[in-house]
């Protein structure tokens, strides 16, 4: 508005110069007479009309445009802030996901290590059990073999003894054996 007023003042100040210039010579652009007042009034009306019909809508449009731009800028700023916020949130989520993944990985590694240790211990225990079983079985086999060997040796020795005794005993021996047995029975009594 002030600019309009300044332009009007500038034009009003310019009028005397124009009037003087026209007064010096016949047939100038502006004549210093009553028509000047009418022209001034016309100019004022024109100025008012221009102001009313063009300048104000233009200013309103410009304000509206300015506001729209400002709003767009604000929205862009908000969007940027939102985007930044989302980016931050996303980054936080990624970080959290990374931390979770790290934790899961560490846990999985720990579980795997525990499982491996458990399997190794189980394998060791199984191996020890197998070894103990094999040793026990071997001991049993050895004991059985020894027993069988002793039995065979005993059977063989007794068989040989029986054969030798049967061949070597005569009637005197038989009598002596019976006497000894009866005497032995008497000692027990």
């Amino acid at each position: 508005m002030r600019r309009v007023f300044a332009i009007a003042c500038f034009l009003a100040g310019l009028l005397p110069a124009v009037a003087f210039a026209s007064g010096g010579e016949e047939g100038g652009l502006i004549s210093l007479d009553k028509s000047l007042i009418i022209q001034a009034v016309n100019f004022a009306i024109l100025l008012w009309l221009l102001t009313k019909l063009l300048y104000k809508p233009l200013l309103a449009k410009m304000d509206e445009r300015t506001n729209a731009i400002q709003k767009s800028l604000d929205e862009a700023q908000a969007a940027r802030a939102q985007a930044q916020k989302e980016r931050d949130e996303f980054a936080a989520k990624i970080q959290a996901a990374n931390a979770e993944a790290q934790r899961i990985r560490a846990e999985a590694l720990k579980d795997a290590a525990d499982e491996q240790r458990r399997l190794v211990e189980a394998a060791k225990a199984e191996a020890a059990r197998l070894v103990a079983g094999a040793r026990q079985e071997m001991d049993q086999d050895v004991r059985r073999a020894r027993q069988e060997l002793r039995q065979e040796v005993a059977d063989l020795a007794i068989a040989i003894s029986e054969r030798l005794i049967k061949k070597s005993l005569n009637d005197t021996d038989h009598r002596r054996i019976v006497d000894d047995a009866i005497a032995h029975m008497g000692q027990k009594n």
Binding site: Q151, V178, A181, H184, M185
Partner: protein, 183 residues
């Protein structure tokens, strides 16, 4: 086998009671032994008497005829008839053994079955009987036999008591010690 012994013991006890009342304990034992000898000698009669499809009355009649033939008294004949009727003639040997044990117990005596590699002399029998009598505090009736399977010595059995004075027994004990790893 154990059931047969139990059955035989019941029959023997019943006969023993009847014979003791009649005062013919030993004679009854002898008659029973004579009947058993006769029955075992007559294999055909024994087989017929042991057939399960022969009627009990027929079995009894056949057994009574055999008992009479062997010279058994009335008590023994009746007993044999009862045993045959009930199909227990296969128990007769066990019944006679149980009856003999009861009579021996009455008389305070015991029978010693002695198996020896060679026949025992009278002196040896007397010494053995003497030792057994001292050990069991009973009069001993020695029933000796030669067992050619024995290498040497003898084995005496009185009831459930076994006295092993044989080389075979010594060798068997030695075999056990060797098998156990004991020298």
């Amino acid at each position: 086998m154990r059931a047969q012994e139990g059955t035989a013991r019941r029959y023997a006890k019943a006969l023993h009671m009847a014979a003791t009342e009649a005062g013919a304990g030993e004679a009854t034992g002898r008659e029973l032994a004579a009947f058993l000898d006769g029955l075992q000698a007559d294999r055909g009669a024994l087989e017929i008497l042991e057939r399960p499809w022969i009627k009990p009355s027929d079995r009894r009649a056949a057994a009574l005829a055999l008992a009479e033939k062997s010279g058994s008294g009335k008590l023994v004949r009746d007993f044999i008839g009862l045993v045959a009727e009930r199909g227990r003639l296969d128990h007769l040997a066990a019944i006679i053994a149980a009856y003999r044990d009861l009579i021996d117990a009455d008389l305070g005596q015991a029978r010693a079955q002695v198996r020896s590699a060679v026949a025992l002399t009278d002196t040896e029998k007397a010494r053995l009987s003497s030792h057994l009598q001292a050990a069991l505090s009973k009069r001993i009736i020695l029933e000796d036999s030669v067992d050619t399977n024995l290498l040497g010595g003898f084995v005496a059995q009185v009831g459930s008591l076994i006295l092993d004075g044989s080389i075979d027994g010594q060798l068997a004990r030695m075999r056990e010690r060797l098998a156990r790893g004991q020298a």
